[in-house]
């Protein structure tokens, strides 16, 4: 028996999230099914991050145990030819048999992407959350500062969860702005950015921490959006934290804007 780790990227649009559940197809289920059929064994992967329905990943991590003699780094090649186009293994590796992707210490990076423009753009709709009124990015950046460090994030955790310990460490939380008008107006004399229009842009909330509560990134994104619309002050984030009450924070932002970028493990479990 050996333990294999996979780094998996997926477009979450068509999936009911990572974890197997009765309502629809999940990423975990597809991996279990294709691995079992490839290896002729009953395979059950253990995932690092149980992403929600509609959430994407560049680098979710999972492990499974197998009797197969395929070398660790070859599983990615073997498995990818069976997977649908919206799931693809990015690397595979043999790891120590006691490595558990949820119990070993790690840091995760998520990005929440907003497309902020007068009109939605179909080419961004699957992977960004569209907002048409201009956001105050400087205010969002100030607000983000209050969440960096070790805090009790109970206010940023959906109530339907059984987790007891709600203290987490946020290593960094950036709000990045990037202009998205690489296509331009059809030269009609009217410059984009004039009148009701403003420069279309991506606003990316990039967060890295040692663990995330249920819906934590999407509630942080939703709260920062409310700051960006001057519905709450950047300084109020300190009170939101200390309230330890989900009602104190903002709305949960939609899943499509969220991508799990990477998971970094702190100890060497390579075989």
């Amino acid at each position: 028996m050996k333990r294999i780790m996979l780094r998996v990227a997926y477009d979450g649009t068509e999936y009911c999230g990572w974890q197997r559940q009765p309502n629809g197809i999940t990423v975990e289920e597809v991996l279990n099914r294709e691995l079992s059929s490839l290896l002729k064994e009953e395979i059950e992967v253990i995932g690092a991050s149980r992403t929600d329905a509609g959430v994407h990943a560049h680098g979710n991590v999972c492990v499974f145990d197998t009797k197969s003699r395929i070398p660790g780094e070859k599983f990615s090649f073997a498995l990818n030819s069976y997977l649908p186009g919206d799931i693809c293994v990015q690397e595979s590796q043999e790891v120590a048999p006691d490595f558990h992707p949820r119990h070993c210490e790690c840091n995760k990076t998520y990005e929440y992407r907003i497309y902020n423009a007068t009109f939605p753009n179909p080419l961004f709709r699957r992977y960004t959350h569209f907002l048409y009124r201009p956001l105050d990015v400087a205010a969002m950046q100030r607000a983000a500062g209050y969440l960096v460090g070790e805090h009790d994030f109970k206010s940023f955790c959906s109530v339907n969860t059984q987790v007891r310990e709600t203290v987490r460490r946020v290593n960094f939380l950036e709000v990045l702005e990037e202009r998205a008008d690489f296509w331009r107006s059809a030269n009609l004399g009217k410059e984009i950015g004039s009148g009701n229009n403003f420069h279309p842009r991506f606003i990316t909330i990039r967060i890295n921490g040692n663990g995330f509560l249920y819906n934590m990134v999407r509630i942080i994104a939703g709260t920062l959006i409310e700051v960006g619309y001057h519905k709450r002050e950047p300084e109020s984030l300190a009170e939101v934290l200390s309230a330890c009450d989900r009602e104190a924070a903002g709305q949960t932002a939609p899943a499509c804007g969220l991508t799990l970028m990477e998971i970094q493990y702190n100890y060497s479990f390579i075989v």
Copy 2:
């Protein structure tokens, strides 16, 4: 009667191209149907660029004539609420009644995007062409230089076309490289880029010209890809041009990598 111009963005994945045809739904058809139902008139748009099945656009342009009293710049708002998520008007404007988007002089910019990595990434699959062997970008850049300027592009035109005049002017043709490893390995001691892997990257072929023959950008992309794989020399592009023969050029690259970025008109037709 007045003439309205629309700048339209679309995800071409689910469409049989721009132009109405019997085999399936097209972007033009959806616009005609929704405009006719919105304005209670029979509307037929005239498009600037008849993009192929699967090709995307940030800024295709079309015009139509209407008796409606909606102000020119308001059509975008009115129409977008009826359009499906994969088509969205980015701006609208009243234009001179004699403005014809195909007969007026213009420059168009297309981008052909390649995702060059060991494994496909599901989050890029809709808008890039995936190639797993590393391309020689410097060779592609040298080859691109031969196509800039006014040339007979007959070799880069699909044979099933009736166009007589095949001379076009390419204003610029860039081959850009951008690293795409903003997610990283799960810290398994093995750096991405070592061994069989190489740094995943986007390679963007960006071309601007005063007109494009049928499949011209995709044939240029396919030919540059062959240069990138050392199947032909950069210098051979001069001979490909002078051959005036489709057989002399490379394969037509797949549609999903192609996006019509913008169309710029040279004379002022604003009302």
